[in-house]
């Protein structure tokens, strides 16, 4: 049940009607919880147990954590919660990967073992809701947030359907207090245009760039460097539009029920250095990794070497969070390397300390940072090692073959892709410069807002994907 399908439209309309028809605060939350269960079961009915079962553990552990005073008991309770959550994540997401790599390692040292190769279905959204449950019990353990006494509130916190499958990753301290009132039903132009923005990103940009990206990276040896570059840029825009489009719709749908979800993106392709990039990209994950991994590892408290080590560990594990594959680890490693180098340069005092560097310096920094970001997207996108190295080689060592005839005469939509990227650059640039267009349109004259809607309606007609494409982050 994807956000941009008629099925979801019918489902959402039904939820709104039930929500509106329910008069009590508790009843409205119950409607949302029931809707969330139906939404999840639409994907995989059996895994509803995986969503709801560990909730009982975490709900009770949090209650005990709040009342317990013995540190040893509290540590054991927290350990139990972490073990249950990470255990399930490890089993469903990493078991096969670990087994296969263990077998490879054993074979490398001459031990021939027969390792089973089971097929384990990945429960959709597991990486997201596992992190939310973990953050809850850790926050209660740290006494940052109180344990909720309402199982209904806790269940809704974990399962609220607009962000259940692909975030943003919500913190209990931000979400649970919003449930302490009767949830209002809201529709306004701001929500309308925010959802429209998200759908436009997904349907007009991400899904139309996807076929080009697939063709380029399925056989990178076929294409000259110029096409590999275009493929990398197209993937950068595709994944941004796909994921931030999902986040926009999720935030918009949350607001309909009076629930505010955290912002997940802030024009990441205008970042001028690695740490700024991670303050702009998948913000809810990067702050989670900072608060629950980097800082517990020691953060920057134990000297420079330990800081760089902690950055590398955090980013490599952050890479593996996306999937059980070494290409994600490499992606995390490369970003960790950039963060460490940037940190080292800052420690050495080699970076400009001026609070507002000149536009030229800023533009050069953005260009350098985005070169690295594009390079990193290649291992993220290509899991086949041979293809990955070929694409990376062609990306770094530009072959100067600008004859696009090598890319075929229409089978590879080079011009269409370039036009989409140009349109994205204009819209993205304007929204970074003037503020988000959806907010402008929500305040604009009705005639202008209506004209924008007609244009969006035509764009949807012309560019709606011919085949249904799920959101990329659903696989994580």
């Amino acid at each position: 049940m994807l956000f941009h399908t008629p099925t979801f439209a019918v489902f959402f309309a039904a939820v709104v009607l039930c929500f509106a028809a329910t008069g009590t605060a508790r009843g409205r939350k119950a409607v949302l919880l029931l809707a969330s269960c139906v939404f999840y079961m639409w994907w995989s009915p059996a895994f509803i147990l995986l969503l709801l079962g560990p909730m009982l553990v975490d709900y009770n552990v949090a209650r005990w954590l709040e009342t317990a005073t013995d540190d040893r008991v509290r540590r054991r309770l927290l350990g139990a919660s972490i073990a249950v959550n990470l255990g399930l994540l490890a089993f469903f997401k990493y078991a096969v990967f670990l087994l296969q790599n263990a077998a490879l390692a054993l074979r490398a040292i001459g031990v021939d073992v027969d390792v089973p190769n089971p097929t384990v279905a990945l429960p959709i959204g597991i990486s997201f809701f596992t992190f939310e449950r973990l953050s809850y019990t850790i926050d209660v353990y740290r006494r940052v947030t109180p344990a909720t006494r309402s199982p209904l509130d806790f269940a809704l916190f974990i399962s609220f359907f607009p962000r259940l499958i692909a975030g943003p990753i919500v913190r209990a301290a931000d979400f649970l207090p919003q449930l302490h009132r009767k949830l209002p039903l809201r529709f306004d132009a701001g929500i309308f245009f925010l959802v429209l923005r998200g759908l436009t990103k997904k349907v007009v940009f991400a899904d139309n760039l996807a076929p080009f990206v697939e063709q380029v990276f399925a056989q990178p040896e076929r294409w000259p460097s110029a096409v590999i570059w275009l493929g990398a840029i197209a993937f950068a825009v595709q994944i941004y539009c796909d994921f931030s489009g999902y986040s926009d719709v999720a935030i918009g749908l949350g607001r309909v029920f009076g629930l505010e979800l955290p912002k997940n993106f802030a024009h990441p392709y205008f970042a001028a250095n690695p740490s700024e990039f991670w303050r702009r990209w998948h913000i809810s994950l990067s702050t989670w990794l900072r608060d629950y991994l980097y800082i517990p590892l020691g953060g920057n408290r134990d000297g420079r070497a330990a800081t760089y080590r902690n950055l590398m560990i955090t980013m490599i594990l952050g890479g593996l969070w996306h999937g059980a594959s070494w290409n994600f680890a490499l992606w995390g490693f490369l970003h960790g390397l950039a963060l460490s180098v940037h940190r080292a340069l800052a420690d050495l005092g080699w970076l400009a300390r001026a609070p507002s560097p000149s536009r030229l310096v800023r533009a050069a920094s953005v260009a350098a940072m985005q070169y690295w970001v594009l390079l990193c997207w290649i291992p993220f996108r290509i899991s086949d090692t041979g293809h990955m190295w070929t694409a990376l080689r062609k990306f770094v060592l530009f072959d100067a073959d600008l004859t696009f005839s090598a890319a075929g005469i229409g089978n590879l939509s080079v011009v269409f892709t370039a036009a989409l990227l140009a349109a994205f650059a204009v819209l993205h640039g304007v929204s970074a410069w003037r503020g988000n267009l959806d907010e402008e349109l929500a305040r604009a004259h009705p005639a202008l807002a209506g004209a924008a809607c007609i244009a969006a309606g035509f764009a949807f007609f012309a560019l709606w994907p011919l085949t249904e494409a799920p959101f990329i982050y659903f696989q994580f």
């Binding site: 529709f187 132009a189 701001g190 229409g410 007609i454 949807f460 007609f461 560019l463």
Partner: protein, 333 residues
């Protein structure tokens, strides 16, 4: 529009969104007609069928191999009773597409040549993606008998396009927006091609006029040869059924039909083995004996130098293939 927008304003925005969609649906036929795409030749063929007077005596159907490989002018005068001959091949034209066009042939046209490479008969697929949609968008309306024959010949999944309503066809036609920019720019990207000929030439619409550089040709051959495994020709059941239907239709209309098997690059013949060539000959003989339809097998007549790329004959190759067909048709009278 304010943050506390009343419901009627939101309704207005929603209706504006739907209006944009409706504008697209309404304007689609005009937009499609103006958009560059590989099927624009279909529009030319329809206009030619309606406007050519007197009607052509001979029509040649087939795909881009036929477009590049047959100069229909050579049939005029060389084949008995043929004063006007037109090349009605189009890019990627399948047997099913040729069959769609068949119902449009004027009654006065008494000769049809269907010319394709033998391996194209192995396909189970009725249409190239979007082909039937393009036919409809250019004004085609299939007759019930045509629809019935296609439904009987192909699996339902391959002829699902036939069942779409006019609204669905208009919405489906949006694929053209994805291709229009690249198709418009092809002339600039590939100056070695003469692609515009496909959209104006009804005799010899050869677009591929320059031979590929040797290295590129070898790469292309290596890639394409690998697509089909070696072995004998395996004509698919849908192809057999639709060819039989084509023959029945021709007999019913008192029309003479010939099947011309196109030249295949020696690299393919070598890769697919002698078994392939032998099986093509066997198919030609059996088909001719069973249906009384003339089969002109040119699978092995061209050498490497007579191709411009891995599949399309060059000018010399086209002249040779055309002469062979003309001679064979003349022989039969």
């Amino acid at each position: 529009v304010r943050a506390d927008t009343p419901w009627k304003s939101l309704l207005g925005l929603g209706l504006a969104l739907l209006a944009g969609f409706a504008v697209g649906v309404g304007a689609m036929p005009a937009l499609f007609g103006a958009a560059a795409n590989d099927f624009r030749r279909i529009d030319l063929l329809f206009r030619a069928l309606r406007e050519t007077s007197p009607p052509p005596d001979l029509l040649v159907f087939g795909n881009s191999v036929t477009m590049n490989g047959i100069d229909a002018r050579a049939f005029e005068g060389a084949v008995p009773d043929v004063r006007t001959a037109l090349n009605f091949a189009s890019t990627g034209q399948s047997i099913a597409e040729a069959f769609l066009l068949y119902q449009e042939i004027p009654a006065a046209t008494k000769r049809v040549v269907y010319a394709i490479p033998a391996d194209a008969l192995e396909s189970n697929v009725a249409f190239n993606p979007h082909a039937y949609n393009a036919f409809v968008m250019y004004g085609y309306e299939a007759e019930p008998a045509t629809l019935a024959a296609l439904r009987e010949s192909y699996a339902a999944v391959h002829v699902a396009d036939l069942d779409r309503s006019w609204l669905e066809q208009r919405i489906e036609a949006r694929w053209v927006f994805r291709t229009v920019l690249d198709k418009s720019m092809r002339g600039w990207v590939r100056p070695d091609l003469n692609l515009d000929r496909a959209f104006r030439d009804l005799r010899y619409p050869a677009a591929y006029t320059h031979r590929l550089p040797e290295a590129r040709l070898r790469d292309e051959l290596a890639q394409r040869v690998a697509i089909r495994p070696p072995g004998a020709l395996r004509v698919s059941d849908p192809s057999r059924r639709l060819l039989a239907e084509l023959v029945r239709s021709a007999q019913r209309d008192d029309r003479r039909i010939a099947l011309a098997l196109a030249p295949i690059h020696p690299a393919f013949r070598e890769a697919w083995g002698a078994e392939f060539v032998d099986s093509v000959r066997a198919f030609a003989a059996t088909f001719e004996a069973d249906t009384r339809v003339q089969v002109i097998d040119a699978t092995t007549i061209l050498e490497d130098a007579q191709f411009v790329d891995s599949v399309h004959p060059g000018a010399e190759g086209a002249a040779r293939w055309t002469r062979k067909i003309a001679a064979a048709l003349a022989d039969r009278g």
